[in-house]
Amino acid sequence: MSHQPDSLCRSIMSAPPVVLKPADTLLSGLQAMVQHRVPALPVVEADHRYVGMLARSHLIALAMPRVLSHEDQTHPLSHLLEIGFIQDTLADLQARMDAVANEPLADHIDTGVPVLEPETPLMNAMLFLHRQRNILPVVENGKLLGVVSVWDVLARIGRVK
């Protein structure tokens, strides 16, 4: 059974405001994210091949003690419950970011973000957006075609011009 065109991701995807390259520095990634106010940006090779996403939550993690960004689900007991005991200041957070600012962002890419295809049913994208994803890459034959963001979808649903 073929889908109605409007029921596919193709109909709601948009061009990402900017794409990053693996060789870009973390700082430039952070700046682009702040400038465009997006929660994540796609990273692509020179030939537009999709690599993964740089996520704001990862940038936040980089400014915190390292162990917080490496928590895993197999050991929930190892998750720190509270870090209010650490009296770090904004300067400490800046120092942590400064230490990694010039690293290429290649090592910080989230490759676990669900990837949509232009023919993916719209409802699949809706479910991801509902479950705390804000921006998802749309990839065809390995190349980045666009993104589906929560803003695109909300704008279309609410007929916001």
Partner: protein, 444 residues
């Protein structure tokens, strides 16, 4: 001799069939090709399907005293940790030594060992290691020595009590030894080994550690009181833990088995933590706690108990016990020391839980040769000290070791088998040698 054997499939020899099932099960456990809880359950299923055990006999083989103690303690810990007391202890101990890295190395080893005496080793390191990494990062010191030291401390500390380490839970549960039996017989030598461990860590790493004054000031600036997330829960958990400890100490007088005490404490703490909350909130809260019970370990134990019941039924363990007695010439001292050293070396290379679970019925079978069950007491201490301390020998010797190595690797701290073993194995041999001297002096 046993009714079940008449129905063994194809009329095969039950002894050989059961032995084969056990060897294949243990082989796959060691190979780690399949999650250990799955293979243990499959082995258990084969024992029943092959007619080596009836389902009734299989269920009778599962030691629910041990399972109850394990689950009960897991529930108590899962609730207790929510109040942040472990973070509090780690930070408090670091500040006590003025954030001097060598002092912290010693203090965190002591905190780990003491916590591990009352909690499962894996749980202890899961709680202590993240705070350790926060502290070492603030101090800008190499975290490796701290993690290394905590692995050994957790396995050493766990040996001191009935509830500190799975081999002890197994021995205590199956032999009917009390909390006091373990403390009175094992804690003295464990204190000596722990002190030696702290000194050796200082000589190997601590004495050359330095941290800049401003880094130390950062750690001194940590506010441990902020780590306590729920003071009310902390009081309730402390109350229940105290009651559980009292019950353990008085277990014989109260006529209570350890499984009852563990599950009883869990039920009491669950009640105190949930009473007065809405039904929906209670379900959510309780489900979270149950989800933190390590079901892999529990199902692994259940399967393993049935596999061992299978070989025991088939007569293998009695046969092995006789062979072992023949090899040692029925000499009690040689038997004891063989159990100690064989347990230590084997536990360093393979999972000590299946080993201990097999050794228990095997040692029990020696009772007639040594003058009854009571005379076997020293052998249980040999088994416990060997199996628990031996786990320190290599990175794969105990679950706590692998857990720490996993967290370390994720945090960019290389934790390699050879590098670990080069230092840990000789230290383990020294610890077992101390245990040897202690056992000889006290019991043989």
């Amino acid at each position: 001799m046993h009714a079940a054997h008449s129905s063994v499939i194809f009329g095969l020899d039950p002894l050989w069939l059961a032995t084969t099932v056990m060897i294949v099960t243990y082989g796959v456990i060691i190979s780690e090709k399949l999650n250990r809880s799955i293979i243990a359950l499959l082995g258990a299923m084969l024992m029943i399907m092959f007619g080596l055990l009836t389902q009734e006999q299989a269920i009778a083989g599962v030691d629910f005293n041990t399972i109850g103690l394990l689950v009960g303690m897991m529930i108590i810990v899962s609730i207790t940790r929510k109040c942040g007391v472990f973070e509090y202890l780690a930070i408090w101990s670091a500040k006590l030594v003025k954030a001097n890295p060598a002092g912290i190395l010693a203090m965190l080893a002591a905190v780990t060992a003491i916590a591990s005496a009352f909690l499962d080793n894996v749980t202890t390191v899961l709680l202590v290691v993240p705070v350790t990494l926060v502290i070492t990062e603030a101090l800008k010191v190499n975290p490796y020595p701290f993690l290394f030291s905590q692995i050994l401390a957790s396995n050493i500390g766990g040996t001191a009590t009935l509830i500190g380490d799975p081999p002890n839970i197994l021995i205590g549960g199956q032999v009917g030894l009390t909390f006091n039996d373990f403390v009175v017989n094992l804690a003295p030598v464990i204190v000596v080994i722990l002190i030696l461990h702290v000194i050796s860590m200082h000589l190997i790493w601590g004495r050359t550690m330095t941290a800049a004054a401003d880094m130390r000031a950062r750690v001194m600036g940590f506010d441990e009181n902020k780590a306590i997330t729920d003071p009310r829960l902390l009081k309730l958990a402390a109350l229940v833990l105290a009651l559980v400890m009292i019950a353990f100490v008085l277990a014989r007088k109260l006529g209570l088995d350890s499984g009852t005490i563990g599950m009883g404490g869990a039920a009491l703490l669950l009640m105190l933590d949930n009473i007065g909350k809405s039904a929906e909130h209670q379900s959510e809260n309780v489900l979270k706690v149950y989800n933190e019970v390590e079901w892999i370990t529990i199902f692994f134990f259940v399967g393993l108990f049935i596999v061992i019941a299978g070989v025991e039924h088939a007569g293998l363990l009695k046969l092995l016990a006789d062979k072992l007695l023949a090899a040692t010439g029925g000499d009690f001292t040689i038997t004891g020391m063989s159990v100690l050293w064989a347990s230590a070396v084997l536990s360093a290379i393979v999972d000590n839980i299946p080993f201990v679970a097999t050794m228990i019925p095997l040692i029990k079978a020696m009772a007639p040769a040594f003058g009854g069950a009571d005379a076997l007491m020293p052998l249980w201490w040999c088994l416990s000290l060997g199996a628990c301390l031996g786990g320190n020998g290599t990175l794969i010797g105990a679950s706590a070791n692998l857990t720490v190595a996993g967290i370390a690797e994720r945090n960019g701290i290389p934790f390699r088998f050879i590098r670990y073993t080069k230092i840990a194995f000789p230290l383990m041999l020294i610890h077992v040698a101390i245990a040897h001297v202690y056992l000889m002096w006290r019991y043989f």
